[in-house]
Symmetry: C2
Subunit: 444 residues, 2 copies
């Protein structure tokens, strides 16, 4: 290294020759799949993907060739007006489960939480749950009506909505059925499928109380009916108290307008409450003096107990956490110190502590919670664990600021029975076996 001009010694300065197109990308496009593409791109270097993956952090294992990417001019700034992830990340996608529902229009897909970092979910992979498919709304023709027990019923266009003061807050959105297939045992081998009906974004919108001020709620108005503009006409009853607290009519997520599948151009946001109530493509809010008892809050989204009665209006999401690495999709590859990483959340406010166990819950240690820890938002946690090739039972346990402690499945079922589909916030167990593979198991 020449310290006077900083010129590198490996020939990278021979750049400046435009390349017609990237060999790595061409190889990727030719082979299609992400893993195959990565291997093919590796082969350009004269070094196969798996061989490179096995290399240790040791100068002697460096590829002997200069990587091709130092030798070419890359694409210019006009190439991608709206960018996309690297082709090497093509495996980070939402996935659905074909046998789960009769049609994809009334179904769900799952966020790939095993491949995410931090607590923001990228808009491209926020899980979807539809009752009539992704509705495509033209924002110019879109209208929101507010009627019922109000002084002045009104209809708002998006231009009207944009003239009110806005808030931008990070909130998690969890489907009440997240982890629901696990009630009767370990069913699904992958954290994407056991816990992936969740996302967390920065929602921007107008506080609902600001909009309600415009119409004037009458003294006997105590409930709202929120109605979606899709073909399912999804609607839910919401108590006025929540509407006046932290509810929001959101038009943006993570800086840009809502994605069509997440309610473009306007959705209801009910921080900390179950996702099905966050009505998408919201077209009408009616103010009434009692709940409506719609199909979605009676025959659906209620929790059937052992005695045949059902819990209903179980809106608030209890504290919960899950380890997203290691997990079935992310085996332990390394003997020695590894990271445990995961996500925790509570519909009641901030996460106070997360504990992790490597012995199935007999002993617990405190995980780190890196800043910022925000209320009703996903919270990252991490901790070290040393793996010596023996079997390990990994668990995490969240505690929120109200003191609520995430329960075991056994404790939860003692109260709720085994009929329910919804609100399973119990502790998840991953078995790391002697090969480092990770399995979804049920303890006790």
């Amino acid at each position: 290294m020449d310290r006077t001009n900083g010129a590198p010694t490996n020939g990278a300065r021979k750049a400046g020759v435009a390349r017609p197109s990237s060999p790595g990308r061409r190889a990727f496009l030719r082979t299609g799949a992400g893993v195959a593409g990565a291997a093919a791109a590796g082969a350009v270097l004269g070094k196969s993907g798996p061989a490179a993956a096995a290399a240790e952090a040791d100068p002697a294992h460096l590829p002997p060739n200069v990587p091709w990417w130092t030798q070419y001019l890359g694409d210019g700034v006009a190439a991608r007006p709206y960018g996309l992830p690297s082709p090497h990340e093509a495996h980070v996608v939402r996935r659905n489960v074909e046998w789960l529902t009769a049609t994809t229009e009334s179904s769900v897909n799952f966020t790939p939480i095993q491949d995410l970092h931090g607590f923001v979910t990228p808009n491209g992979v926020c899980f979807e749950r539809h009752h009539g498919g992704t509705t495509e709304v033209n924002p110019v023709d879109y209208r929101l009506m507010i009627n019922g027990l109000v002084d002045t019923p009104k209809i708002f266009s998006m231009e009207d909505i944009f003239r009110f003061p806005v808030e931008s807050r990070f909130y998690f959105l969890e489907c009440a059925a997240n982890t629901g297939m696990e009630w009767r045992g370990a069913q699904l081998n992958g954290v994407q499928f056991t816990h992936g009906m969740i996302h967390c974004v920065q929602y921007t919108g107008v506080p609902l109380r600001v909009i309600l001020d415009q119409v004037g709620v009458k003294p006997n108005g105590t409930w709202l009916l929120a109605e979606g503009g899709d073909s399912s006409g999804m609607h839910r009853s919401v108590p006025l108290e929540k509407a006046l607290d932290d509810a929001m009519l959101a038009f943006a997520m993570n800086g840009e307008m809502l994605r069509p599948e997440n309610g473009y151009p306007l959705r209801l946001v009910l921080p900390g409450w179950e996702g099905n109530m966050w009505v998408k493509w919201i077209r009408r809010i009616e103010v009434g003096d009692q709940p409506w008892h719609t199909r979605e809050e009676t025959s659906k989204y209620t929790d059937l107990l052992a005695n045949g009665k059902a819990r209903f209006f179980t809106w608030e999401m209890d504290a919960k956490s899950v380890i997203t690495g290691p997990c079935p999709e992310k085996p332990v590859l390394h003997k020695g110190v590894n990271q445990i990483k995961g996500l925790a959340w509570s519909g009641r406010g901030r996460i106070k502590e997360v504990h992790v166990s490597t012995d199935g819950g007999r002993n617990w240690m405190q995980a780190r919670l890196p800043d910022p820890v925000l209320p009703k938002c996903l919270t990252c946690f991490n901790a070290e664990f040393e793996w010596n090739g023996e079997e390990v039972l990994l668990q995490s346990r969240a505690v929120d600021e109200t003191g609520y402690v995430q329960p075991t499945m056994q404790a939860l079922q003692e109260v709720r029975g085994v009929n329910s589909i919804y609100h399973n916030n119990s502790i998840q167990t991953w078995l790391v076996n002697k090969t480092g593979e990770v399995e979804n198991v049920r303890l006790g």
Copy 2:
């Protein structure tokens, strides 16, 4: 409305018939551009886009037809493994300026901040600045070397990097040249071009001090050279003090792995410091006992003063703010109460206050700063202003937690002269003329 079953009265329940494909989307694809597409989609409803846009918030102006989107099943959950914005948002893209640079590979494009909401910048539109184009790195073959004044030089693979504890923090990244074309007057008519060399995302990565602990910096090691893996071999000197404070080696932004144009798979993050130092595709860190004085920190990225001398190592970004609506791209369409919205930031920590003026800086009022306000992160502000059709001079002024106040251009030039390209953090003025159009103007 029948309150017993919640069935809507407008015929939307006639849904359930699968449609082959969306008329709105087909119209959009046929016409290509976003605005034309929106108008065409409006025509499906028998109501043109502009007519609908002019409709007031009044039931009498509701479109007489039921919107088509309530009458069809939308796309199912398998349709988009990785989602994209609505076709109606096709105007929200990065843009470059053709005359600005000789080639697009050594150029910049600009974040469309006039169309964003909240402080998170979506990954798809984070501005790019390249010296050799977008380098496409294969993460399997990627290596980071640390050498120089260290006890044990080491080479790290991405798998090695993933085994360290991580942080996830929101930081803005601003190019030192942002607003640089405005030094000598009002040059560019659009906030995307005057202030769009900025983005703000949740970066996830390993604190640099953790990696330096692995190699052991020798007692006389006081500076780092960070070297990029692209064809330009971009490198910059960084004082060890910053590396041990809040510097990070980041692999993810907004939850997913870095985009190729933002340094995939690993980049340096230097919170609050000018963007060119956040070396992308970082391949090597050398520890030394003095700065290297590379080309990028001597002939470039220094600030030429009136007396011919240059300020150098001007790393920290001073407090700055700008109104992103109204702005040249967002005229005032409405007489009466409108929102002023904008962004503020400081490389020294938190924004404490933002003031806005509607009379060119003679009178100031306090803007709202909605939670959360985070250090070295974009901060949203908003305030009402009433427009009666007269000319208005809009300004914003940021104050950070150190007490630093964003200066006028006149005050800045008294100290810095007019030769500089970099570090223009002066107050921006927008003239709202009598038609509601907004112009970039220079006062005094």
